[in-house]
Amino acid sequence: MRRTSTSRTRRSGYAVVLLALSVIGTLYTAVAGPSAATEEPASSQSMAIEEGRDFYLSGCSTCHGLDLTGGAGGPSLIGVGASSVIFQVESGRMPLSAGFQQAPRKDVRYTREQIDALAAYIQSNGGGLTLPEGDLTDGDLQLGGALFRTNCASCHNFAGSGGALTYGKYAPELEQASPRVIYSAMQSGPESMPRYGDNQLTELEKKSIVRYVRYISESEDVGGAGLGRYGPLTEGLVIWVVGITVLVLMTLWIGARA
């Protein structure tokens, strides 16, 4: 009897716990569900995340770990945000082929959609910085030029031709960089590059810099061949290799007609 009542009490206890759990669960999904769904249609977003997770597991997890917490050689990716993923993958730096002083730019291994899926997956784990909506080159060209010369030219060179940093590190040339890569680089501050948060450079200022970089990268060289846009060094090389050499050959020609 006693035993029976104890078992009955126990059973009813389970029922209460089950009921409470299901009520809380229902309530939670009722509260949390809609807020997650407001950003994107739940199905496409979750599909992208799923797809991104597949790419992550096959392409990235060897170094960054199955659970994104880092591991053999790769840092944790929790909270780095979509912006960082877009910079690293869209510039071809990730997946890394070998341990260099600095990740070199390579051929891009993923399509734009795949990169976005990967970014969505990383973004879904701990959040982080995302690229703003809309046209990333929607800035002011002149403002961009001034900001570029103040913030970027000291490493990337006046024309974005790149430059050397200490001990084998370098600021890459910018001609190949897409607007998304330039913007996300400023946001995420990869390698030796400083991070330009929205308090250092506003969204408009960053977009202006993107516009200026794309402008000079796409602009033709006025006044003849640009000589790599490295400045006086290549000009000096040209005057010796072309100028003086051609003229010395001419003196030989004239001298031979004595």
């Binding site: 060209l141 002149q142 961009g144 030029g145 001034a146 010369r149 103040t150 030219a153 000291s154 490493c155 990337h156 060179n157 006046f158 024309a159 031709s161 790149g162 430059g163 050397a164 940093l165 200490t166 001990y167 084998g168 370098y170 600021a171 200026y212 402008y215 000079i216 060289d221 006025v222 006044g223 003849g224 061949a225 640009g226 000589l227 790599g228 846009r229 490295y230 400045g231 006086p232 060094l233 000009e235 000096g236 090389l237 040209v238 005057i239 010796w240 072309v242 100028g243 003086i244 051609v246 003229l247 010395v248 001419m250 003196t251 030989l252 004239i254 001298g255 031979a256 007609r257 004595a258």
Partner: protein
Amino acid sequence: MSHLEKVTDTTAGWMDERLGAAGYVRKSLNKVFPDHWSFMLGEIALYSFIILLLTGTYLSFFYTPSLTEVVYDGSYIPLKGVTMSQAYESTLFISFDVRGGLIMRQIHHWAALLFLAAIVVHLLRVFFTGAFRKPRELNWVIGVLLLILGLLEGFAGYSLPDDLLSGTGARIFHGIILSVPVIGSWATFLIYGGEYPGTEFLDRLYALHIFVVPLAILGLITFHMLMIWYQKHTQFAGPGRTEDNVVGSRFFPAYAAKAGGFFFLVFAVLAALGGLAQINPIWMYGPYNASQVTAGSQPDWYIGFLDGSLRLMPNWELSALGYTVPFNVLLPTVIMPGVIFVAMMLYPWIEARRTGDRAYHNLLDRPRDVPVRTGIGAMSVAFYVILVIAGGNDVIASVFQVNVNTMTIAGRIALIVVPPLVYVITKRWCLALQHNDEELLHHGIESGTIRRLPSGEFVEETVPLPLVYQLSLGVAEPEPQDHHSPAPVGTGFEKKPALERAPDKDGFFRPRRSASNGSANGSSNGKANGKRPEAELPQLEKSGKDKPPS
């Protein structure tokens, strides 16, 4: 009377009727210049300078040397509405809005680079052939002064556009002056008209760039050429050429035609560069702002050696009694160039003192015949080239993906190790080439025919070196030779006593000469072979006539 002689006479006559200068004009038009391609290198510099004057005049019509701030409203969109100095604005105006402005600017800049490159090449020719020896030491000094003025002129021009690059250059120049003890700070105030960047600097540079320095260069060039005219040009040894004559073409018409034609060739090369290759795209650098700098900031190539020495110099400073002597800047950018240029100017006298050679020289040395001088020259070139490379080490590191720190350390080591190595190698190389000459003179050219003597000995038959080549080797008076006999016959090689004394250990050559040959040549040379203890500089002992050229 040929047609050309008539032209000379008519011209002289026309001048004579008006100026009474027939004799002078006829003499001048008939003046003989020796023919050799290497004598035209200095001309490249001269013609570049003329082109610099022409293009520079055009640029000066539109350029405003003012730091007054204006807002740009020209054709270059990315700078529209940007605040900048009038100097930069007017340079942009020249580049984008003046008809022919950009190509004039580019030809002007390329001509500046060529001017200094040609000076350097010409200087090397003069050095390696010993053309600076008595009586031409003063002209050598003028040449070095022209080089220094060229550097100054180039730097001033580089600073005028007031773009980011030229402003950075002006800033480094400021730092260099500051490094001079005691007077540094005051000197910068004097030059810049106050604290950096001041408002006066550009006006002063402009006055220097378009008036003072070009005038000085023009004056020195005139003097340089008058001295060539008066002293006559040097020539290489060859048929009929002696210390007392000049063999070549007359000024009119052959030399004038060549020189005039060459001017247009130089102009053509510069115009092609100006039209096809961009130089100093100031619009990309942007207006100068003291808070900005670009990676890969470089001076033009001719200042590169100073930038290189600055980059290679370790960070040494001496602080005592509340004062700092910044050797890290002072040594590589003030003391080093000072020592180099003074040593360069004094080199003719240094060498003369070392060799005891006080004779006149109108015949040039072949570089191999003076191994020590050639070694010193090659060593200096190596030193200079390492500095220039170091001056661009960041761009080189970036382009070739080398560690820039490694490049700096390698540059420091190379600067100390490479020049002595180059000296030793060059000297040995020269001696080996001398041995080769000796071989040719004494044994002749290999004919490829092997003859077996009745005794069983094999001998190789040789063909005598053609007379023209013998004379070009500096042989005073070639003797009739019998090169078909295996035994070498002596030639007039007494001008090169070193070859007599040079050891035979490598088995390269064995100067054998009959006593009669030696004495005959000795008398024809009018000199005795001095045997001096300095085995290092034997060829410098070649003494010429102790009287000025007629």
